[in-house]
Symmetry: D2
Subunit: 105 residues, 4 copies
């Protein structure tokens, strides 16, 4: 897969439709909160499937009902690319499939 | 865990609050349908967690977006017990957590 | 993805390197047995990832430590194709990654 | 579940049989490395099942083939308890079930 490196304004534009995602160089980041641990794990499994389909793997952290992400594209020297934005968009859509997703603070 | 074997009328009563579940001796059965394969897999992972928590494991079958169950309690000679009804209830509540669950035909 | 329909002798040849797999028209079939339920579930999650990567989804059945498969290619009228053999090969390699896989009877 | 708070020497003793685990107050920590992402995810699913069975949930972080843990017992004021050691032991045994587990550096 080829990656298109994004400028800072392109990153901002890409994340504008993704509330809760932000750019903290070199990564884009977000945190999702569910009603309980099991929904968080089911969500992680779904994200893992997408990661393999895209062959692009987000770093993530789980703390009971919370799952946080932080990633960039290593192959192009830790820059944010269109692939990162596409993955963030997919993660956000997947989270929204869960009834128990809590709104962003 | 001790199991209480149920009479046929107790089985009917236990399943009365679980539309889509039915008794076909020696098992109780149901089928759930989701919007896609990934939700079906996420659901299976959640059911698997509950199965280990209860130490009671339902047989299940997956066909893309569909997951069907069929089980009884082997330890008491393949009878339906209160444990089976409790597991069916939990499976039903878990399925209802998914936005993409399709209504029973 | 395009699928190549296989003749019966090509199916036999494809399965020859996959002990435990057999052709029972219209499906190819196999059963894997692990030491316990958790390994069976972990295996199912891995197979599910591959199914989405290939966009080819095997029907499977779980009974505690056993996972059985049965599938063909629906898109070409329920024939066995090269895609089915490729998926069977991948399932077999995945099962072999588990220390607790039991040898075929 | 009741938890027994451990002294620092009891923590050391508890971790002595768990190479790779260490105490960095207030948490105990370890990192496991597998051959690939899929094995890491399968491992996470198994740990998640155990977490629910014990009702004790480790914080964990995934980075492709690596899974790292860091946890203590919140209910007793972020101390290390016998429950933490029991969970660490179970995580270690689960990791060892994977053929692809890499030895600790």
């Amino acid at each position: 897969m080829s990656h298109v490196i994004l400028s800072e304004s392109q990153i901002d534009e890409g994340l504008s439709a993704l509330p809760g995602w932000s750019y903290r160089a070199p990564n884009i980041e977000a945190k999702y909160e569910f009603a309980n641990f099991r929904d968080a794990i089911a969500f992680i499994v779904q994200v893992a499937i997408q990661a393999e389909v895209m062959n692009h793997h987000p770093e993530f952290h789980n703390s009971w009902n919370k799952v946080s992400f932080s990633f960039c594209t290593h192959d192009v020297g830790n820059k944010i690319t269109d692939t990162d934005i596409a993955l963030a968009k997919h993660i956000d859509e997947t989270a929204a499939r869960f009834l128990s997703l809590k709104p962003k603070a």
